[in-house]
Symmetry: C2
Subunit: 212 residues, 2 copies
């Protein structure tokens, strides 16, 4: 018997965080029920698409003429997205971007706890807002001790592959890379590359011709 989450399409899964954000805003505005057509209009989607997506996560069906209970949906989405699962993360590369992630306090609500950063430069070693910054040599030791499964890679492009290899060696199985470089990971490790400059450029292209 397949679990319910397995049936969720990739595309829909990618939209869930946006629904969640929207619903949180509605909840903050005191709205208790919201219809799929309202969501669709506000989020620039089709109402059918919204209904299909919500049907994948909603623990109780929408009520005709009313819509969906906002609070309930928020809980359903958070559970589906795994925000209740606690995970330890680390930052590799304590430059400006890395340090921004190290002290960012917005991860907690998503079950992610950034426990440390690592850097190859002794000048960066120390701590920031109570979060330790270690030399790269200690990555494996600390990551294993703290059971770190998630790594945020924020090193310069030329250092990316080496740092990534070290993360894999340290037992990290999910890597989010902001390094401007192509990096290779072995099977079993999930890598996502966030190419900030490329994202900006594609955004411009999208604006230029109205919808990628």
């Amino acid at each position: 018997m397949e679990s319910k989450t397995a049936e969720i399409s990739k595309a829909a899964f990618l939209r869930f965080p946006a629904y969640l954000r929207y619903l949180q805003a509605e909840a903050a505005a005191g709205v208790s029920y919201v219809s799929s057509s309202e969501i669709a209009e506000d989020m620039h989607l089709s109402a059918v698409c919204v209904r299909k997506d919500l049907a994948l996560v909603a623990s109780e069906p929408g009520k005709p003429r009313l819509g969906f209970a906002v609070g309930k949906l928020i809980g359903d989405l958070e559970r589906t997205l795994g925000y209740h699962l606690k995970t330890h993360a680390c930052v590799v590369g304590a430059g400006r971007l890395g340090r921004a992630f190290l002290v960012y306090d917005g991860f907690e609500h998503y079950g992610i706890d950034v426990v440390a950063a690592f850097d190859i430069s002794p000048a960066q070693v120390g701590a920031l807002h109570g979060k330790p910054i270690y030399p790269m040599e200690r990555l494996k030791e600390i990551a294993e001790r703290e059971e770190v499964r998630l790594g945020i890679l924020t090193v310069p492009g030329e250092a990316a592959q080496k740092a990534c290899d070290a993360m894999v060696e340290a037992g990290i199985t999910s890597i989010l890379s902001f390094a401007p470089a192509y990096v290779r990971v072995p099977a079993g490790v999930t890598l996502r590359c966030e190419d900030l400059a490329a994202t900006l450029a594609s955004l411009l292209a999208e604006a230029g011709k109205g919808g990628i």
Copy 2:
């Protein structure tokens, strides 16, 4: 007659930056020709998909038994992605993340020039690495003077909508938001939300069940 770029599918366009990164790495390694099957294997895609994608951008066809000329492809991709077009950008919200973007020197190769940052707090106003940080009141003035079309939104969630409105008012037509909030923009403005925490969480979900 439709322009050639109009035929490029959304999904393919999103893969282009990854190809570019890969090819740059190959070029740096001294490789001059690369076949679609090699690319596919390294990037965990199907060879057919790679060939179809490359056919969309390649200015000269691939050669049987050799593959594609790496240098040529790099140029083709950069042109398709619009990296030759110069655009002025600004950062709104000069916190840690915003300041990281302000001084990041990796945008240049993508035709993006971050000319200034803005912040509501007078404590942040000044300059960083020669890049000015202005008070929010001057956003419209500066953005219009510098012809800023692209904005990077890095304010706290509760300030996001107001800051976004100010950006739209200032004539900015493409916004990349890192603010953890739902923000609404009028038609004609392209908004993309990068939800870092959500990205991390989805990465974990992906790793957890092997492929989103």
